[in-house]
């Protein structure tokens, strides 16, 4: 497997690197879920890497692996140049200060019994960052202010806040230990539309002010495009395409990306009517028994017989843009033509 990053990226500007990562879960009766099955990516300092995919693509599991929150079956996870794949429980503790996580549903990810101040102070207490209670309280106030909440809200409980406010608390907690990398796992998915924009703006502002690095995991293609400097598209435990948002969204090189993009509805009735949708047939296959060869071939409108035999590597489409398809851009072109015929 080749890494998704361009070769010139040096060790210092890579905050986290995952190489040929595999995470397999046993699910009884000898079956194994291949949640992540050979993923390589790196996250560079100060950037937002968008990880986009549908359910079962393994995007969240990849994020969890960066904090060693799932058992890594094979491959390596490096954070700040150190291989953390086999670190002991004790060693993992400082790792979880370097890499912090924001979860999807803020009402589930905050302990209902604790005040939000106590939740935010947890990383401080765990890592012994601010010795006294008073110092910690002061820091909690700073963090609340940073995420746009009043410092006196520290004494509230999660149920006394709105969803958007709770997610701000989740972000404040993640920032408490001054992490190098924030893994944002569907941070806006469970929020109301008008609140999603607030949270995206907040994340952007924090990144500018604090120079943060994000791994932005989402199924929302528009949000990923808006937030990311680079995007990786996942399908069934693999990265199928990676590049800048411009490259991926304007000129997708993998049939799956093209189909995914064509399936996203836009708030424009005229455009929706003349949309040439590439409809995929069937469902995502089970990760217990992924298809041989190219994983997308069972749903790919442009699949050919040898797609079942050869497992395609990522090839370079252009500088910084890679895709894993045997037939390169030809497949996408063919699909588009097919969609045109269907509508025309």
């Amino acid at each position: 497997m080749t890494t998704t990053g361009s070769t010139e990226s040096t060790a210092t500007d890579v905050v986290a690197r995952v190489t040929d990562l595999r995470v397999h879960f046993p699910v009884g009766r000898g079956s194994v879920v291949h949640a992540v099955d050979g993923v390589s990516l790196d996250v560079r300092r100060g950037e937002t890497l968008g990880l986009v995919g549908e359910s079962g693509s393994g995007k969240s599991t990849t994020g969890l692996a960066l904090l060693r929150l799932v058992h890594v079956t094979s491959g390596t996870v490096e954070v700040a140049g150190q291989d953390v794949t086999t670190w002991s429980r004790r060693q993992v503790k400082p790792l979880r200060r370097r890499v912090a996580m924001v979860f999807q549903d803020p009402s589930a990810s905050l302990d209902p019994r604790l005040t939000i101040g106590a939740s935010i102070a947890e990383p401080l207490a765990v890592h012994g960052l601010r010795g006294s209670k008073a110092e910690r309280r002061e820091r909690v106030g700073e963090l609340l202010d940073l995420v746009g909440l009043r410092p006196d809200m520290a004494d509230r409980h999660p149920h006394e806040m709105s969803g958007g406010q709770r997610q701000r608390v989740g972000i404040a907690r993640a920032l408490a230990g001054e992490p190098d990398l924030l893994v944002l796992d569907e941070p806006i998915a469970s929020l109301d539309l008008s609140v999603q924009a607030q949270i995206m703006n907040l994340l952007r502002r924090l990144q500018e002010e604090l120079g943060l690095t994000y791994l932005f995991i989402s199924h929302d293609l528009a949000a990923v495009e808006h937030m990311s400097d680079r995007v990786a598209v996942m399908y069934l435990g693999r990265i199928v395409e990676t590049g800048t948002p411009e490259q991926i969204y304007r000129n997708p090189a993998h049939p799956y990306t093209a189909a995914l993009l064509s399936a996203v509805p836009t708030a424009d009735p005229a455009r929706e009517r003349e949309r040439r949708r590439i409809t995929l047939h069937g469902d995502i296959p089970s990760p217990v028994d992924p298809p041989s060869g190219c994983r997308f071939r069972t749903r790919c409108p442009a699949a050919r017989p040898d797609c079942a035999e050869k497992d395609p590597d990522l090839y370079q489409v252009e500088e910084g843009h890679r895709a894993a398809c045997l037939y390169k851009v030809e497949a996408v072109r063919e699909m588009r033509a097919g969609a045109d015929r269907a509508t025309g």
Binding site: E54, S55, S162, G163, G164, Q165, D192, L193, S194, V195, Q196, A197, Q198, M200, N201, R204, H219, L221, A222, A223, E225, H226, P245, Y249, R250, A259, L260, S262, A263, V264, P265, T266, A267, D268, P269, A270, R271, E272, R275, R277, T279, L280, H281, D283, I284
Partner: protein, 331 residues
């Protein structure tokens, strides 16, 4: 235009609680015609689901429902409970967000689909089964003769939602009500379901009421759109008019809050605060506390009326919100 299939007039739903009365739905009027799709859009707490549930007699216990609801010209609100249940079962099909909650896990999907046919169309068991196979095929389930004997857990999420749609269509209903029916699905699966419903609608002439928060879905499927906020309709119109020329500051803000494909704006336009709870509605215009325009002194304490800004395009506002003015004020 033909007679509406389902028409609501002044529908109001209130809940009495210790802390006062909550008006969850407040004076909602809309109608859906054969073969047409009406989209009801809103955020959580907007009353969009409660409107439809209450209109069809499915309001939760404790709800006080007033107003008139006509199904095929007959007044649903004046019927006895038993008649209403019969009319609903015969003429309306429902599809909810989570297919697992609509399906009985210990019954084969075939039984579940055919049961509706047997109950409301008086079919025999054999006829029901035949019809079930037919319907499962209609909604695009491969090899329906075999799948008819499977249980819900043997289907994927998208396939389950197809089964629910097959159940909803079992009685050849005149109206299909879809409440966030694709929200829990992946986009590629959502595209399949949207395409399926559009195709069925064309073939069967069913009227569709699509309740959603996703403006993208609305743009793709709706003929008319109703935007709800704080239990009231704040804007309604034909889909093209509404998207091309949104008149209410809330509608404008909703459209602007989504990142635009291909446009990497530095900041998204947002609406401050969160949608209000039905128990905490402000006096006057429900959107007033979050409104970036507040174009009239009356906004604070008087509820604005629904006024027509273009033929068939109504907005609840004291003033005609002008996008240019809005932009300027927010700068």
């Amino acid at each position: 235009m033909s007679e509406p299939v389902l028409a609501l007039e002044g529908l109001t739903v209130t809940f009495g609680s210790a802390r006062g009365t909550a008006r969850v739905v407040d004076g909602v009027d809309w109608a859906v015609h054969p073969g047409q799709t009406l989209a009801v859009v809103g955020e959580s707490g907007s009353g969009k689901s409660m409107t439809v549930l209450s209109a069809t007699g499915l309001a939760p216990r404790g709800a006080k429902v007033t107003g008139t609801v006509r199904l095929l010209g007959e007044e649903l609100t004046a019927m006895s409970d038993a008649d209403r249940r019969r009319a609903r079962g015969r003429h309306i099909g429902f599809v909810y967000q989570d297919p697992m909650t609509s399906l009985n896990p210990v019954m084969t999907v075939g039984r579940q689909v055919s049961e509706a046919c047997e109950e409301h169309l008086g079919m025999s068991k054999q006829e029901g089964r035949k019809r079930a196979v037919e319907l499962l095929g209609l909604v695009g389930i491969p090899s329906p003769e075999e799948r008819v004997d499977n249980y819900p857990h043997q289907f994927s999420g998208g396939m389950r939602q197809r089964v629910v749609i097959a159940m909803a269509l079992a009685n050849e209903p005149e109206v299909l009500i879809a409440d966030e029916a694709t929200t829990a699905l992946d986009v590629t699966t959502q595209a399949q379901i949207l395409e399926l419903v559009a195709g069925l609608q064309e073939r069967l002439g069913t009227a569709v009421v699509w309740i959603t928060h996703d403006l993208g879905v609305v743009a793709g499927i709706a003929d008319r759109v109703v935007v709800m906020y704080g239990g009231r309709i704040i804007e309604q119109g034909k889909v093209d008019d509404l998207f091309a020329d949104p008149a209410h500051p809330y509608t404008q803000a909703l459209l602007a809050a989504r990142p635009q494909p291909g446009v990497r704006a530095d900041r998204l336009l947002t609406i401050a605060g969160t949608p209000p709870l039905p128990t905490e509605l402000p006096p006057g215009c429900a959107f007033w506390p979050r409104c970036p325009v507040r174009g009239d002194a009356r906004c604070e304490h008087e509820e604005p009326p629904l006024v027509e800004v273009a033929p068939g395009h109504e907005v609840r506002s004291f003033y005609r919100a002008d996008p240019a003015v809005t932009e300027e004020r927010s700068a």
